[in-house]
Structure formats: structure tokens, C-alpha cells
Amino acid sequence: MSAPAVIAAGETAQSVTERICAVTLREGARPWTPLWWWVAFAVSLGLLGMGVISVAWLFYAGLGIWGIDWPVVWGLDILNYVWWIAIASGGTFISALFFLLGVEWRTALNRLAESLTLCAALCAAIFPILHLGRPWFFYWLFPYPNTMGLWAQFRSPLVWDFFAILTYVLASILFWYFGLLPDLATLRDRAGRPGQRVFYGVLALGFRGSGRQWRHYRAVYAVMAALMAPLVVSVHSIVGMDFAGSAATGWHSTQFPPFFVFGAALSGFAVVLVAILPLRALLGLQAYVTARHIDVLGRLFLTSSLCVAYAYLMDAFSTFYGSDPAERTMFVLRVFGLYAPVYWGTIVLNIVLPQLLWWRAVRMTAPLVWLIGLGVLVGMWLERFQIIVTSLARTQMPSSWGQYTPTIWEWSLLFGTIGLFLTTFLLIVRLMPVVAMAEMRAMLRGGVG
């Protein structure tokens, strides 16, 4: 059985460029922005507005408006952070890792996937600041020369985390933008309206497509891909170490760094699937994002789900293999206690449901794949709730056991960041080429990249 093609038959360099440019420049038959975009954008802005109000009230009133308390000092803030940064991994995996591996199906997906990464990383990046008791001093985590003679404390995983996130966000932006340059140049050259010409002309940074420019472009892109691939592993390992580097019950585990990389891969692929399936239909990209892509993503998705399953199993194993009664008590309570639905929800959504993807028929049914992807996004959120909240609620001293119930201000912040994510993503979809045209053309010519 031959796999479906990665691009529809009859597509040429000319047709790719025209089709993709038409989506962005809105020339020709339908020169207006489609209604669905405006509706989605309005909803996103609404959510974003809610988030802005939530943050404003947080800064005014203080952390007490959240539900975090004495034993559970980290709640939805850190949870959302870890969730978003994991979501941000998908683009990097597809774009950088598979670029290095030279897989052909990556080409049609990388732009969208990278854009998703960028938006999610932005959402993630605000939480480390918001979760501070005195957020206006966030820059104290940065080792800068100051008259106080103080320095960051480099043994703290939070400092590592600060650097990892900063590096990751900056590198993601650069990688995304650098990859855009040839396409921005194409848009500049094809733009009809003066405003568009100026906009894309400035952004294209004078890329003219000379041989010398292409040589430099290819070399730098390959180097950046080679940097990004380990970076995605390091950033999630360090997020894992935020927990593993502490002594708290349920966190102090050597498997956390790879565990978090697995989880990141799973949620990364999930978000790519969840975003790309509707977009493919809405933007008319079926010719470029074919059944082959969905199939491949489905398999990757299943693979990462199995990796996560292994991590869950090892988590249980090491708890009982170890001799710490507090760890065991905490684990038993996690599985059967007050927060048991969270644990079992995690298992069902992250492990059980993705097993359906073993069947090709399921992988080929877009709505099912979409639902499973959405399920995993929820499941990964629950997983983080389970790791963060149930651990802190049941630590070594029974006298400090507690509970945690998020307040409306934590939920509104979560939905606010979803608004931020969607708003930025919709803007990118509307203003930037959604498929890497230059790479598609190269692929059609028979080379990769």
C-alpha cells in the first residue's frame, strides 16, 4: 500500500505560490477577509480582554485573589505555564527536528506549526512573571550588574528556567522569522497595494533571492534548526527540573526531564492536529496538507502517547520501588483520593483514547483525530494539575495537608491566554503565508529546503 502523496497531483511551483499568496494578499476572486476569521478574531479578542482584566486585577489586588494557599503555593499559574510551553514544542519538533531528518512531509506543515509554537510560547512566557508575589521585580532573576551587588542564585531551577524560556522564545521567534524571509520577499514582489508592498518590503529585510543570499539563508537555517532541535529538548527537561530539582513529594524524580519532553511532544502534535484540521478546510489547503500529513501526524501522536504511557508507568513503579512512605501515601491519594478523577481523566485522555489511532481508518477520519487531539490537550492539562496540585496538597507533614480550588481569576487568566494564543495565531494566519512557499517550490523541484 503506497502512502498518499505529500502534495496533490498537478501542483506546480507557480500554482503553489499563487494559491498561498492569494490567501495572504486577498487578491483576485475574493479580496475580502473571510467572515469566519472575523468571528474567530472577535471571540479571541473577547477572551484576551478577559485575560487583560484578570491580570490588571491581579496586579492591583495581589496573589490572594487566586486560590493558592499555604501548602499549595503553586496552582493554575504554574500549571498553565507548563501546559503552554509543552504546546509550544510541536512546531519545533516538526520544523527543526524533521528538517534535520530531511522528511518531505514537514514542508507543508512547518510554517503553521512554528506559528503555533510562537503563540504558545508567548502565552507560557507571561506566567512566570504573573505568578510572582511581586511581579514588578521579575528582572531580579536576571544576572545583571546592579548597585545592590546582588546576583541571581544559579542553583535554583527557576533561574535555569528563566534562561531556558528566554532562549527558547527568542530562538523560536528568530527561527520563525528567518524562515519567513524568502516568502515575505515573494509577497512584497507580488503585492498590489502600496501598503502591502511597504509592509512586506520592510519585513523582507531586502531579501532579493540572489544566489549568495540563498547560500547564506540555507546555511543559517540549517544551523538554526540544528540549534532548535536540542533546545526543545532542553527547555522541557528544565521545566521538568523545576519540579525534579525540588524535594517535594511527587516531584523529586529523576525521570521528570524526559517525562516532560514526552509530554511536550504529545501536546505539541496534538495542537498541530487540532489547529491544522480546520484550517486546511477553511483556507483551502487540502492540496498541500494531504491525508498523508494527517496520517503521519497521527502516528507521531500515537508514538508520543505511548512514550507518555511509559512515563506514567515508571512514575508508579519508582514510587513503589522507592522506600519513602510519604511518596507512597501521596501516590495512593492521587490515584484514589480527592483528586482521583483528575488522575483517571489524565490516563483516559492521554493514553487510552489515542490508542484508537492504531487504526488507519480512525487516522483518516478528520473529526475523530481532531477530537482525540483536543482530548489530549485537556488530558495534558489534567496531568499537570495532578503533578502540581496533588503533590503539594499531600507532602511529608500531614499537619500541612491541604486543598486547592482555583478561583474565577485563575480560570479567567487561563482563558485569557487562550485568547492571546488565538489572537496572535489568527493575525499570523491572516498576514503571513501559511505554507512555506519557497520550501514547497524547492520540494517540487526535487530537493528539500
Partner: protein, 948 residues
Amino acid sequence: MPSLEGLPGDEEDWIRRFPQLEQALAHPLDRRRTLKLLALALAGGGLAGCDPGTPDRGFVSAVRAAPGVVPGVPNIYASAHVRDGYANGILVTHQMGRPIKVEGNPGHPSSLGATDLFAQAAIQDFYDPDRASGPLHDGMPAAWQEVTTALQALRAGPDGAGASGGAGLRILTGTVTSPTLGAAIDALLAAHPGAIWHRWDAIGREAVRQGAARAYGRPAMVIPDLRQVNVALAVDSDLLDSAPGHLRHARAFAGRRNPVLGDMSRLYAVEPTPSLTGVAADHRFIAAPGACEEIIGRLAAALLHNEEPSGGPDWLGAVVADLRAHRGRALVHLGPDYGAPAHTAIHAMNEALGGRGKVFDVFEPPEYRPVQPVSTLSDLMDDMEKGRVRTLLILDVNPVHQVPRFAAVLPRVPLSVALADRPHETARAARWHVPLAHGFEAWGDARADDGTATILQPQAMPLYGGTSAATILRFCAGEVGRPARELVRQVWREHLASERDWRAALAAGVIPGTASARLEAAISPVMPPVSPRGAASADLTLLLRPDPHLWDGREANNPWLQELPRPLSKSVWGNPLLIPPDLARSMGLRNGDEIVLSVDARRAVLPVWVQPGQASGCVVGLLGSGRRHAGETGDGVGTDLYPLRDAVGPVRIAATGRRVDVACTEHHATLVADTPSDIVRHGTLARFRQEPGFLGTAQDHRASEAALYRRDPGAPVAWGMSIDLNACIGCNACMIACQAENNVPVVGRDEVLRQREMHWLRIDRAYEGTPDAPDTFFQPMLCMHCEQAPCETVCPVGATTHDSEGLNVMVYNRCVGTKFCSNNCPYKVRRFNYFAFAEQERRPPISRNPDVSVRARGVMEKCTFCVQRIAQARIAADRDGVAEQVVTACQAVCPTQAITFGDINDPDAAVRHRKASPLTYGVLPEQGTHPRVTYEARIRNPNPALES
């Protein structure tokens, strides 16, 4: 000007709320006049800053001879804290002339350097913004002049009511030990021969006094000496937590509880609901009050008539045998909730056990007219009902809140004057409310349980104005214009003849030679029978006990005490009904289920709280909550159970089906099945004798020496602490001391419900065994100052670091509030300022300790080992060249000296010796934190005959 336009609500509504408005509106002012008055007020404000000096001449410092105030250097003045008449000596620390901290007076026999939590919390009472600011007449503000005019009617003399011989004049006070107040009462009774003095306390000890009087044929005070006791049986006893002299008893008791330091005593306790005494006991037996009385009867038979105990609980025989075996060193003690005959019987038993002169002795009672007037409150209320009371002086008691009937009959008294510190229930119901000066503001005196007298010297100018009971009485007796100091001086004129003696007594906080004389009175041969109160029936028994922190309700407006977790239930800001576990099971009740508690026709609606170890069929309500007019902090907190107190009839409870959030600071399941016993280590004396180190550090195979980070603090001094779990009785005084010393904020009920209480030092309570009869353990938990502190490695900004002397210090200014340190603290002793808790407190800023930073919103805080005291000692050592001993606030206040602190590098330091004890262990050794706070494991001394 006289317009209330623009304000919500109509004019009448406003006048009702602010009665002074009516008067103000009646005298309209023009703008010119208003401005003049404003200017005058401004100028007056400036003048008011000119302090006329200390009241009635100077204070006398305990540490230096009245040198004046040196900024930054505390002054310390001796005084006493008086509760229900009995004094505990205190030393009040002043900074720049304002009292900020209370310590015990080591020279005072009832304090021995310790205080109870009430004395610690007195600072909050003193600065309470809800205290009375001036006299009230029928609820309207009145001038002091008007009060004097009204009271002049009472003055003896040809033109006053005094001419009628004082018939119809009544005085109501609590227990009086103050010779000055007693003399004032005498003076008034002399001036008005028809007047009658009534004594009444909401939480009374009348039965104890009557019992002793009947036993010895005259008023007597029986004082045990627990240091001499080898075997004790405490029957529903309050010996360690609230009896007069309890601090001394607790010290003596604890002195016999650590097997490393000496011979252990053995304590049996029988009680219906767990008390501190019961928890401290080696054997705790559970019995309802009726059963306790029955047990007293059987004990009397066994000990007085040498009958072999038959019937009764199965342990009785072994206990009686043990008591007999320790003749001369055995003691039985009974709590105040039992009748006089039971107390008489107990005294006879103690005499029969031959311990007089050794384990207890009989003294002249310290009270003013100890048993005599015996004109009780019900006599007074009968007279009030019949209209025989023309004038009633209510001095510092609150019967309107505590006795429902009193509120009903009070309006029949034409002239009622309440002397009260705040416009509370009685002050509002009386015609006149005269502000009472706080104990820190007025001259007075009081006796300890052993009779030792202390002069209360004012610690500050009255914050709100106020007067003392003695002054009022003297005024009514016709002695006008005598300053309060003169009244006290007069009483002690003989004893402290010279000014030098007087000053010495003020400085020392005790008047030498005032301890009561030992009595030779023999025990009365006639023993009244002890009649059990009703046979044990299937009905519920309702026990109404004083709240351990609010007492009879007087402390309801004290936020420290409201937020102090009750020793066993750990509940705060409310008084859930304590129910036994079997009742909870049979009725399907859980913590926080709301019920209707009814006795006869009286009802109260309140939530329940399951109290492990409470007698089956007993429900316990705490009095003192549900105040209507305690002040802004205390009004409406909890449920008022006083209305049920005098109701007679079957007790019923019925669930309403609703749930109530009960604020509580410990959330884990009640049983130790959940608690690794490793945290609170305990064992028996027999095991200890075989292998002394069986609980100590030697057992910690898991404690590893390996450390990721090498940290050698470097300084020659290394601070450390040892906490003796054998001594800790869980009294909570250290928590309040810490709160007062370190400006630890109160967060309020809602924030406690969100688990955001801020106590730096908490007392963990652990249960082991079954809910019906568990073993209970207390463990003070504070920052362990780990040598390998996990909090320090995870702080990204280095806001928590180690200093060279091994302190784990918090740099508040540097903290950005990641809270990671709290995650990484295995002991969970770090507290986070989710809101600006300190700013939101009602206490005035001047009441805070100026040596300790007040923490802002968004920063972490925790125990510092009282770093400010260490700094003071260091400065003193630098200046004087003599190393001063550092005493932490918790250590200083501890009645049982459970806490030892010091330099563990100093070979002579007590803490080093304590840490060398075979019982010493660190909590959570497997965490590799190497805590500088270690515990001495609890050893119990059970009777082998009862170990099955």
C-alpha cells in the same frame, strides 16, 4: 450646615446610628464659627502632644533606675496580668514608652518567667481600637463631669443618698484578690452599711472554694506541688491549663517528665473531653461527668475507708493500688466543674494518702473575703426582680451576656453603672457606662494563688481614658480626689514603709513576704456524700466549658486569640460543638455539619466538630463566642451558648442538613494512621530503660551525611534549638509570644478557610490509635534552620540564605515571591503574604515591635530564631564584653521550659546538653536537611499493670 443631604438614608436613620448627631444638628454653626473651632482643634492637637508625664509620678524600671527613654533601647517594667482575680507576674517591654511585649516575671511565684497566652495577648487588648473612648449615658456619649454628678448621688453625706444608709446599693464584682480593691469595697460598705457586695464569675471556682472550706472547716487554698508527686490522678482537671497557678504547676509537672533528666512521675487522667492535662497523662481514661462523680465516690470508698474497689471501671483497681503504693507522694486533683462535696472528698483522700506538707499544702486563701459574702448572683437577681436594688455598680463583669436572666431584670434598677473596658453587652444595658482603664493604665494590685501580692503599675498614659474599680468605689464612699496610686500606696503603707521598699517592690514585681501563711487546720472528719448528678442515661450530656482562648468571652475581640488554633480541634474564629466520634457515626455527622442544639426550649444553631477521645454521649460547647458587642473583631464570631447554660432538660441535637465552613488550621484526617510515627517519636519508659537511644538520632539509618552543597557556616557561634516533647503540654502560649514578638499578622476567618494563616510557629497535633480513645501528641513546628536548607537552593534571587551562625535568614526586600522555597520546605513552615495582611490589621502601628520588619504583600516569611534578640545580645556583648544569653520569644514564654535555645558550639550551653540526650532526633531525617531544631522524643510512663 445641619443637612444630611447627599447621604444615603434619611436623617433619623443617621441619628440612630450616630446619636451625637442629634445634638450637633440642634446647634447649627455658621461657617466662621466652624472654621474657628477647626483651628482650635488643630491647635489643641498640638497641645495634646505635650505629654503631661506619667500618671501619678514615675514608673520604676526593673532593669535600670528610671533613666528615661533611650531610643532603640527597651525598658522593662514589672506588673501583673490578672485573670478572674488571680495574678501572674509579668514584665512589660517598652520601646520608646509604648508597651510592645509581655514576658513572665521570673521572680513571681505564679509566673516563674512564663506567661499564659492571655498575658501574651494583653498587648492586643491594650491597643484594641474598640475600647471605650468615654462614658455613656443611656447609650449617648456623656462627659466625665456628668458621671461624677450621677455618682455624687451615692456619696455619703447629708445631701446624698448615703443618708439612707446605702439600702438598695449593690456592688457586683468578680473574684477579688486585690487588697486595694478589697479595702475600697470595705470603705464603701462602711460608708453605706446597707450596701451589699456580690461576687460572681462567669467561669467560677466557687465549688473549689466551698469544697476546701468544708474540708478544713475554714476558708483554705490547697496548693499542690507537682514536683514532689510521683503518682497523680487528675479527674477532669485544669491543673495544667487554667487553674490558678497553672504555670507553676506545669513547670513542676514538666520537671518530672523527661527520664534523661530525672525520675519520671506518672499521671492518670479521667475526663469527658480531652484537656491539656489529659493529653499530658500517661493513661487517659474517658468518662462522662456523671461517671467521674461515681469514680470519685468509689475512690473515696477505697482511699478513705480502705475498701477494695469493686465495680466501676476496670482500671480503677490498678490506679488505687498505684496511689496507695506511693503513699506520701500521691495526689488526686479535681477540676472546677464538680460540686463542693466532691472537692471535699478529694481533699480528704489527699489527706488519707499522707501527702500533706509534701505533695500539697493548705494555705490561707488569697481572695478578699474568700467564702463569706455568699451573696450570689441569683440572690442579687431575685432582689433586682423585686425592685429592692436601687443602685447597682457592675465592676468589670459582663452578666448581661453571660446570664440571660440578668439582662431581663437589669432594667428594674433605677441607677445601674457598669465599669467596663468597652461598650459591651452589660455596659450598653446599664444606664451608665464608665470606661475601665486597662491593667496597663491604672494603679492596682493583685495576689497570686499563693497569696504573693504584686503592684500593678501603669505602663502608659490611658489611651482612651478610663478609671479603675477602686477609684470608683472610693469616690462613691465619699473619698474624693485621692489618686489611684495613693490608694495602693495607702494599703501597703505598713508593708512597704519606706519609699525605697515601695520602689523595690515595684521594680521586682512582687511584694516580699506576702505569700499566704500555711494553715494548720485539720481535715474535717465529716465527709458529705458525693452524689452523682443523675444516673447515666441514654440522654446526651451537654458540657459548657470556657473557651481555651476566649475564656468567658472577654477575649472575643482579641484577633490573636480568635485566630489561635484551639489545642485539639485546631479550630479558629468560631466555636463548633465538639461531638464524640461514636455520635458522629451514629448520626452520620461530619465536621462542619450544622445542627440545632436544644436544651428544653432553648436552642442554638451551630456546626459540629468531631473530637476524638471525647466521652460517648457527651457534647461539649465552648462558651465565650457569639458576642453581640465585643467589638468589630469579635462581634458575631461563633455561637453564643450562654443561653443554654441554665436550661434544664434533655439535650437534643438535630441536623439541619446545611454545611458550615469551620475555619481550622489542620486539615488532615484525624488519625495517625496517616501520620508516619517517625515525625512524633514516642515510646515507653520501660523500653527507654532497656535501650535509651531507641528513638534517637542513632536510629536514623537513612539520614545521610552526603550533601550536594558543602556549607560550613564558619562563625564560632552556631544557633540551635531543642524541643522537649515530654515537656510540651500544647498550651499555645509560644504561638502568641511569637506573634507578638515578630509582628506576625492575623489574616481573619476567610483567609484561614483558604489556608493562609501566618503563624511562624505552630503546634502540630497528632493522634494515634482509634478515634474513640486515641493517644494525642503535640509538636511545636517552626523553621528548622536546616544546615542543608532546601529552601535556599531553589530561591532564584537568593532571598533566603544562610548566615555565618547557621541561621536560615529571609531577606524580605529581596524576595520576589516565587514561593518555591515553601514548596521545597519539607516542614512547611514558610508563610506567604498573599495580601497585605499586616496593613489590613486593625491594631495601630505603634503596637508593633520596632525591631522586626513588617512584611509587605507578596513576600515569604518564617521563623527567624528571633534574630532581633540575637542582634541585641551581640550588641550587648560587643559593648560590655560579656556574652548575653539569647532567649527566643517562644522559649521565654514556655511554662514548661520545653524549648532550649543557644549556641551549640558552646560546651556549657544548655542546648548542647539537651541535644546530647539519647532521645534527641530530627524530623524527616531522610530529607538530609540536618535541622538545627531537634526534638526530644516523648517517653510515657504507663503502669505495667494496665498495659495489656
